[in-house]
């Protein structure tokens, strides 16, 4: 039998493990006592201390609908199905106009990949510029990019370019079915950073069928570039995919990676992004992320905001995508409602 703590979460342990202490201290020295929580309207989110407005505020749009030629082992296009589809640039503009009229804050422009790992974004650059002119924040899932796309995203005024970085050639082949190497991902990252677009690389922890392999190499690769933020997400087994029965890495394994990321990127925001397994796994993972000095968490588990308060942190809330950390839209007011532990 499982018991819910729907209204009042038992206080989580506030002790910082010795292994985490240097990371925690580094975060406090470089970022002070702020921590950010994100709940974009991609999901309706309601816990005892925070809820998003459940109106369209930050909306994902796929430029390929639910189609993806890669058919990666962990996704098979399932993630695209819940996104709005914009089959042509005019449709993207139409969605943007509708959202802007309703007071939305931004759009995540995403899409399935072609067989070469690129997302067909070049023809959408004009529409993306149009979204910016409407006053919307625009984050883009880029896939692999060439120079033309990287420069085009920068010229269009994109607020955040998000690219998944994989640190093991074997994982690229086995999971993405992509005839590419880590060097191709690094080249895309380099092009994005060189173009001047604010780049937030993502690393999917446990992407290799739940195993940790290549995550540290990915971090090392990223550490060579000037990035805006680093977003860590966790493999989340999806039904009806070859990874449906895969066990994600244990929270303690993830915690070790959080510590390493914090120490490798002492002055760059490191965030725990939207995707990670639910339930007690999430609660444990989120708690370790806070103790490792991670700057922000998307859709925190019940009790985590209270834990942040108990650790002496000052929470801010946003309905934007977490990769836009430290930009506008942080709401401090709900931090005052925190129950004390």
């Amino acid at each position: 039998m499982q018991e819910v703590h729907a209204q009042s979460q038992d206080c989580l342990d506030t002790a910082i493990p010795a292994l985490y202490q240097p990371a925690w201290e580094s975060a406090r020295a470089n970022f002070g006592d702020r921590v950010f929580f994100y709940a974009p309207s991609i999901k309706h989110y309601k816990t005892s201390v925070y809820q998003n407005t459940s109106r369209p505020f930050f909306i994902p749009v796929s430029v390929t609908g639910s189609s993806c030629q890669l058919g990666c082992e962990h996704c098979r296009g399932r993630i695209l199905k819940s996104m709005h589809a914009a089959a042509a640039p005019a449709e993207l503009l139409e969605i943007g106009e509708r959202l802007a009229r309703r007071g939305a804050g931004g759009v995540l422009v995403s899409g399935g990949s072609r067989a070469d790992g690129t997302v067909p974004l070049t023809e959408y650059l004009g529409a993306i510029r149009g979204l910016k002119e409407m006053g919307l924040k625009v984050a883009v899932h880029t896939g692999l990019v060439d120079e033309r796309l990287a420069d085009g995203l920068a010229e269009a005024g994109v607020d955040s370019a998000m690219i998944d970085i994989i640190g093991a050639n074997e994982t690229i082949k086995r999971v993405y079915h992509l005839d590419a190497s880590t060097a191709d991902f690094e080249r895309s990252l380099a092009l994005l950073c060189r173009s001047g677009v604010k780049t937030s690389p993502h690393i999917v922890l446990g992407l290799d069928f739940g195993n940790i392999s290549g995550e540290m190499q990915a971090m090392e690769m990223i550490s060579n570039y000037e990035i805006w933020s680093l977003v860590l997400v966790v493999i989340t087994p999806q039904p009806d995919t070859p990874m449906a029965a895969v066990l994600p890495p244990r929270p303690a394994e993830l915690g070790n990676l959080f510590v390493k990321a914090r120490r490798m990127f002492p002055r760059t925001p490191v965030l725990l992004g939207c995707a990670r397994p639910a339930g007690s796994h999430k609660t444990e993972t989120d708690a370790l992320a806070l103790k490792a000095g991670i700057n922000g968490i998307a859709y925190p588990a019940e009790g985590i905001v209270e834990l942040a308060g108990a650790l002496g942190l000052k929470p801010g809330f946003s309905e934007h995508c977490c990769s836009l950390i430290f930009q506008e839209g942080i709401d401090d007011s709900q931090g005052e409602q925190l129950a004390s532990c």
């Binding site: 819910v4 729907a6 991609i42 309706h44 989110y45 309601k46 109106r55 709005h84």
Partner: protein, 155 residues
Amino acid sequence: MVLISAGTKEDCRWDLPDEFYYHRKDHIWAKVEGNIVRMGVDAFGQWAAGTLAQMRTFPVGRAIRKGHAFGNLESGKFIGPMRSPVSGKIVEINSEVVANPSMVNEDNYGNWIVLVEPSSLEEDLADLPNGEAAIREWMEAELQEFKDKDLLNCD
């Protein structure tokens, strides 16, 4: 059975038994079975939430109040409480469904979540949608709200 539909997509069709009662916002169905109320997620609720990934409930014996949480769930598009249509006491939990919440996506009426012994049933049911006309009126308003929020995505 009341069939509600929207747009052109095949999956935007929802059956709502007209003998059930419904929580208007959380889409929790309540079926009165003598002195017990069986509860679960209605067809529209499971569609709107997407694949259910995690579910928790209060334990057997816990008193619950109408409009307040008897548990919570997390899915592809929802993280939040499941609020009860009636007040009472939880007398049984469908542990199999709680442990495997995506069963709700497969059969949302067969895979119930809790049984509740109600404490003020007549009063609690009075303002809940029940019967074809009331269910249609309620769902039309719901669909309009989802459409206004750009959440319907049925074309």
